[in-house]
Assembly symmetry: C2
Homo-oligomer: 318 residues x 2
């Protein structure tokens, strides 16, 4: 494991890929690897890209990679798809657009698929970011699909979030979008040449104005781009740079990163206790039998739970 950690820190592509696979499969040694890499993390900028399907996130990511490369930066992309197996095919095709950088050794692209439960995707993504950070990538782009809670959880792992919106999605989507408005740092209105782009900009600015009504904070930028026409990208890059400086100098970045660690701690503790429950209490084997007793009304649910929990903790202490 020390060898693997060393090779990752040296930036060796195969070691990086192996490190991420370890994380993704929750393999033995994962914790040791992350602990070994920890001192080498904290240097990369973690950029999140989110927004509804069809907003052009992958195309935008592709152009941002090109921009970073022009600056001589090493870039990694983690494309997270925690959605249904039904959607898999189409969306994977989408990611292929980014393959224009496949030949560039300073660009690393990895898709994180949903294996097992959804919480697993978040954990694997955190670890993947750490591996890439330790490997010396200057920028790690995390791209998610969809706008559900899992996506929000994942995007909260990043330093700076680009929320990509497109005109013409109708009122139904407006409502959905509202749910993720809070997580955006920079609002990107893609397909700015399409009808309704200006109206959407006005709407976004209206909602943002509402957000800042009682604060004298820096207002989040709204950028109009056309990824297809390659318009507005330089302005977006500049805004992102400026916002990053703002986060960094104001101490908000440090605060964000510390809060991220706190969340991580809670999540890991929780996961570990579940493991213990399973080991000591044979929880996942017994739960079926317990559910049967509750279903049959042989026991009262909360009384039963409180007694079982008490027994578990007693056993755990012996």
């Amino acid at each position: 494991m020390r060898d693997l950690a060393r090779d990752i820190v040296l930036g060796k592509t195969r070691a990086i890929a192996r490190g991420i696979s370890l994380a993704e499969n929750d393999s033995l040694g994962r914790e040791e690897l992350i602990d070994l890499l920890h001192p080498h993390t904290g240097k990369a900028r973690i950029l999140g890209i989110t927004g509804p399907p069809g907003a052009g996130k992958s195309t935008l990511a592709d152009l941002l990679i090109a921009g970073e490369r022009r600056k001589g930066h090493k870039v990694a992309v983690v494309a997270v798809d925690p959605s249904s197996p039904f959607t898999g095919g189409a969306l994977l095709g989408d990611r292929l657009r980014m393959q224009s950088h496949a030949e560039d050794e300073h660009v690393f692209i990895r898709s994180m698929a949903s294996r097992g439960h959804l919480g697993g995707v978040s954990r694997a993504t955190v670890d993947a970011i750490k591996v890439l950070d330790a490997a010396g990538f200057d920028t790690v782009i995390v791209e998610t699909i969809g706008v559900g809670q899992t996506e929000v959880d994942i995007i909260e792992l990043t330093d700076l979030v680009l929320l990509v919106l497109v005109p013409g999605m109708g009122d139904e989507i407006q409502a959905m979008k509202a749910g993720v408005m809070e997580i955006g740092d920079i609002f990107v209105i893609n397909k700015s040449d399409k009808e309704g782009a200006d109206k959407l900009r006005t709407e976004v600015e209206y909602v943002l104005g509402f957000k800042y009504a009682h604060e004298m904070e820096k207002m989040n930028p709204v950028c109009m781009v056309s990824a297809k026409m390659k318009q507005g990208l330089e302005a977006l890059e500049e805004e992102a740079e400026e916002w990053f400086q703002h986060l960094s100098l104001s101490g908000l970045l440090e605060q964000k990163r510390k809060e991220r660690i706190q969340k991580e701690l809670k999540r890991i503790f929780s996961a570990k206790i579940h493991e213990l429950l399973d080991k000591k209490m044979d929880f996942y084997n017994n739960v079926e039998e317990w559910a049967e007793m509750i279903y049959q009304k042989k026991v009262q649910p909360y009384r039963f739970i409180n007694e079982s929990l008490h027994d578990f903790l007693k056993k755990e202490s012996e």
Copy 2:
């Protein structure tokens, strides 16, 4: 608490409302109340209605209430809105449509707002369903907004799910919808008079065909309705009745309900252990300090977590 439980079982409206408030606010006595009501539960049919915003779920719920009332059934509706505060206003307005039944004492309508964290909504909803079930409602309709993971979690608490879709939402929404296709029992294509309704029906049937390609199970019904024009509702009611009979006779309903209890058990155990962590380990007060140490790279994250957990369990046993 015994008095309150008795009044709920007697179907007294004020007691029901108080019981749900207890659940929603996680008040003292909540567990005792649910335990007391438990023997009286299991009789109601729990019907879930989900689908993207704007699909006409509330209007449909309204018509389903009327249908149930014609059969002489007592109906309760739990409208769950775990979404962003930004969306609150508009959606609450939506629910007002159901108020046509406000005068009917055999119809009980309650909105569950998102107080605190999202997990809290699921818990409060489970408890609210139990209160209404024990109170003798024949049918409990649970309506959610949006199509995120929280909504999926909530809708899994029901016996039978109507997934409401509408034509003309574009490809972007199609992808999102796919994520919730698995949870539907009956697929309702609303606004069937709109252009594209037949195409949507074909698409849904195509995806369903894919789902059943390797199984000889009963195929989920797809119903075309126009809630506005009050068309197709009788057919939908019949399909729902038939599907319910199918679930009931095949043993799937019992299985579903037992699985629901299993999920509940896991969730409650987890929540209780978090409470303990907080109490004994002062977890939520210390987590900030711990995050600081990890951020400063003074400790290795996993080693630190494993040691802390060990200490917690030791303390817990003393």
